[in-house]
């Protein structure tokens, strides 16, 4: 029988994978996608606990996380495009100046 602990463990594994991506990759777009993996891991934990407690409020929080993720993706990708236009690179190690 699969219980809450399995879902929370899966969520923890996904979060760690996302963190590893943020720390290890150089491509700023891939780092961004790793952040999405981390956000989704947290969403899974929220939905699992909401189901376990029989309370729909956890699902409402997931709704807000998705909204913030959409806003973050739009603004973040716009910043990446602006940075690429200025420096012709998506490598985070090359983006080492605050002004260009």
């Amino acid at each position: 029988m699969v219980g809450l602990s399995h879902f929370v463990a899966l969520s923890a594994i996904l979060f760690a994978i996302g963190t590893a991506g943020v720390l290890l990759r150089r491509n700023v777009i891939v780092i961004f996608m790793s952040i999405e993996v981390m956000l989704n891991a947290v969403n899974l934990a929220f939905v699992s606990f909401a189901r376990s407690l029989g309370d729909a409020q956890g699902q409402v929080i997931v709704f807000f996380v998705m909204t913030v993720a959409a806003a973050e993706a739009a603004v973040g990708l716009a910043i990446i495009m602006a940075a690429f236009r200025a420096r012709q690179t998506v490598d985070v190690d090359e983006m080492n100046r605050l002004r260009w």
Binding site: M1, V2, G3, L4, S5, H6, F7, V8, A9, L10, A12, I13, L14, A16, I17, T19, A20, G21, L23, L24, R25, R26, N27, I29, V30, F32, M33, S34, E36, V37, N43, L44, V47, A50, R51, S52, G54, A56, Q57, Q59, V60, V62, F63, F64, M66, T67, V68, A70, A71, A73, A74, V75, A78, I79, I80, M81, A82, F84, R85, D91
Partner: protein, 165 residues
């Protein structure tokens, strides 16, 4: 949810998430992320969160991933050069993996947090229950969300357009 369904899907989910993080080609990373998001929607359905699962497919796998793929193909950066990182990042990731292994074993073996096989009440996870919570308890955050989205739209347009001069 039966273990015979859960464990293969969980394994596939972890493999896809690892592909997102490890694949050198960003386009294939993005496609693996689409698969990850769809599988998470399946898990949401198993947790009787149907509305969240539908939103996951429409908003995440639909809208956000299209944005990602569009930017990747517009910039066309190609594969990365060296993947090597310094010892600090490796140590942090290794330590994180150790803590995670310990936590996972503790959770899965002991089953410390129970509430297994809890039957959800009628209408749990449906549109009605979610909307009632959203428009009563969370009304102010909901309205703030609309302001946030407006700010994000304006900010994205200002950042992405070329200078007019």
């Amino acid at each position: 949810m039966a273990a015979v369904v859960f464990f293969p899907l969980a394994a596939l989910l972890v493999i896809l998430a690892l592909t997102v993080v490890l694949h050198p080609d960003p386009v294939k990373s993005a496609l693996a992320l689409v698969g990850t998001l769809f599988l998470l929607a399946v898990f949401f359905v198993f947790l009787s969160a149907e509305v969240v699962a539908a939103l996951q497919v429409i908003v995440y796998a639909g809208a956000i991933m299209v944005l990602f793929l569009f930017v990747i193909m517009l910039l066309n950066p190609g594969a990365e050069r060296s993947e090597r990182r310094g010892p600090v990042a490796g140590t942090v990731v290794g330590g994180l993996a150790l803590v995670l292994a310990w936590q996972t074993g503790w959770l899965a073996a002991g089953g410390k947090i129970g509430a297994e096989g809890l039957r959800p009440e009628r209408g749990y996870g449906g549109v009605f229950a979610l909307a009632r919570s959203l428009f009563t308890d969370f009304l102010l955050p909901f309205e703030l969300t609309s302001v946030l989205l407006l700010v994000a739209i304006v900010g994205a347009v200002v950042l992405a357009k070329r200078r007019l001069s």
